[in-house]
Structure formats: structure tokens, C-alpha cells
């Protein structure tokens, strides 16, 4: 039972409020949101920060819900993904990880790199351009998730791909919401 203690210690040392690993659905999304909201309420978190955290969590969680249904990741271990949120004195750190097909890896990286090059006004212009010209995808996304996360965060999105089996990679994404 040592792993229980190890996990407990890891969560404390990483300042994690919540970690969820497994299948992602709209129902799970709502549960995770309400748990974190309750946590922020209990410490009397500032309402502007609360709204930003909520916002980024929704985009993050719904991204996973939508993309875990993709065909090219069907064989990946039970569609499982991970979501976690941590908090220190300066920031909330929202991190997700899920498997993606290597065929879409480049597209995701390109999109985030482009977003990370934009300043506040650039992101606003990009958002307006996508909302005006884009349409809702088959998966129900508006293609605005990363842009919105970057706007709410005000900082760069941090991401990484770790190869799983030559066909798919584990995509990790981290967004920071400053508390100061």
C-alpha cells in the first residue's frame, strides 16, 4: 500500500488540488468543475480569478471529451486521459494530458505556437477571425478553445508530446492563471 502514501505525498509536493484520470464525459466535466469551484469558494478566491480558472477548465475538459472520441485514438488504452489542477501562492496551474494520433500532432503544435506568438490584441483579432469565419466541427468544437485559454491566462500555453507507440503521442497542455 506504499503507492497510496507516495501518491498522497506527490499531490502535496506538487500542490495539486485535484487529479482525475480515466474516461472523460460531460458528466465528469460537470463534477470536476463543481469540485474545483467548491474548493475555490471555500478559500474565498477572488471572483475574477475564479471565473478565469473555470473558463480554462471547461475548454480543457471539453477538448478531451471531444477528442477522445476520435477514430485515430480508438485503440489507445481505454481513451483515458488525465486532468489536474494545482495551486500555489502565485497561480493556478491547469494541466491536461491525452493521447492524440501522430498525424494531428503537427497541426496542434503549429496552432499553439502561432497563438503563443500573439500579444493581447493579436489574440483578440484571431478570436474574432475564427468566430466569424469558422463553423462548428463535427465534434462540436468551434476551434476557439486554445485561443480562449491563452486569452484568459494572459501567459503562454505550455505543451509537450511524448511518443507512445510510434502511432500516437501523449499530449500534455498546461495553462497558468496568475493569482497576483
Amino acid at each position: 500500500m506504499k503507492h497510496v502514501y507516495d501518491l498522497h505525498q506527490a499531490m502535496i509536493s506538487e500542490n495539486l488540488i485535484l487529479v482525475y484520470e480515466g474516461e472523460f464525459t460531460q458528466e465528469i466535466t460537470k463534477s470536476v468543475l463543481s469540485m474545483v469551484e467548491r474548493n475555490m469558494d471555500s478559500v474565498g478566491e477572488d471572483s475574477t480569478i475564479k471565473r478565469k480558472v473555470f473558463n480554462v477548465m471547461v475548454e480543457c475538459l471539453q477538448n478531451i471529451v471531444k477528442h477522445s472520441e476520435e477514430d485515430n485514438v480508438e485503440n489507445i488504452k481505454e481513451h483515458s486521459a488525465i486532468f489536474m489542477i494545482g495551486k500555489n501562492d502565485n497561480a493556478y496551474i491547469i494541466t491536461s494530458g491525452n493521447a492524440v494520433g501522430n498525424d494531428v500532432k503537427g497541426k496542434i503544435a503549429e496552432k499553439i505556437d502561432y497563438i503563443n506568438k500573439q500579444d493581447r490584441d493579436g489574440l483578440k483579432a484571431l478570436y474574432k477571425e475564427i468566430i466569424k469565419t469558422g463553423s462548428i466541427s463535427e465534434k462540436g468544437g468551434a476551434g476557439l478553445g486554445f485561443v480562449d485559454m491563452a486569452r484568459k491566462s494572459g501567459e503562454k500555453l505550455i505543451y509537450d508530446f511524448k511518443d507512445i507507440d510510434g502511432q500516437s503521442s501523449f499530449f500534455s497542455l498546461q495553462t497558468i492563471i496568475s493569482r497576483v
Binding site: 460531460q26 460537470k30 463543481s34 471572483s47 475574477t48 471565473r51 478565469k52 473555470f54 473558463n55 471547461v58 475548454e59 471539453q62 471529451v65 483578440k124 478570436y127 474574432k128 468566430i131 466569424k132 469558422g134 463553423s135 462548428i136 462540436g140 468544437g141 468551434a142 476557439l144 478553445g145 485561443v147 480562449d148 484568459k152
Partner: protein, 120 residues
Amino acid sequence: MEIISLEGTEDTPKIILNKENGIFEISGRSLPEDSAEFYQPILDWIETYAGEPSDKTEFVFKLEYFNTASSKLILDVLSALEDIPGMSIIWYFHEDDEDMEEAGEEFSELVELPFEFKTY
């Protein structure tokens, strides 16, 4: 004309569309699993209303939160309202919610409709 009256839930907004009483309002949280499906009846209702509108219509948005998929649909709703004579938008935002204020301003720049901004 048919009345739409939906109670808000933790992931869908409260919606009242009542021509007789002159209440047109979308409020609360909008992060449905399938926003296109959720907003379709609203868009259908507006299409019907556009054929027989009141002289003046004040359409109220009083949203606490909406996700990006909903934002696309909100723009679709606004676009559908655009050609209705006498239409104006009242955009409410919580007094300390700059993001919601900015979202309203952005929508107002994307459609040709008079916007009035109010805090709550």
C-alpha cells in the same frame, strides 16, 4: 406565437422567448455538451419571429459564463436577429467581469445591431 421557456441548469442557460409578454432573454451558464443542438430550437424560433416581429424588441443577454462552442452559437443567434427591424441588444455583465464586458463588445463589433451595456 409559441413560447420558449427553459429552466437553466449547471451547463445550459435559462431561456425565455415570449413575444406576447415582450420577454426575450438568455441568461446563466452555457456550456452544453452539444451547443449546436442546444441552440437550434432558439434559431428556429427567431426565424419564425423574424416573419412577424413586434415593433420593438429588446433581446437580453445576461450570461454568467459561456464556453467557446456556445460563443459561436451566440454569434449565430445575434446574426439571426440582425435583420429584424426594431431589434436591440441589452448585454448584461457582472460589474467586476471585464471578460464578459469585452465579449459583449466583440459581439457588438461583429454584427450590425445596437448594443446597450448594463451591469448587475
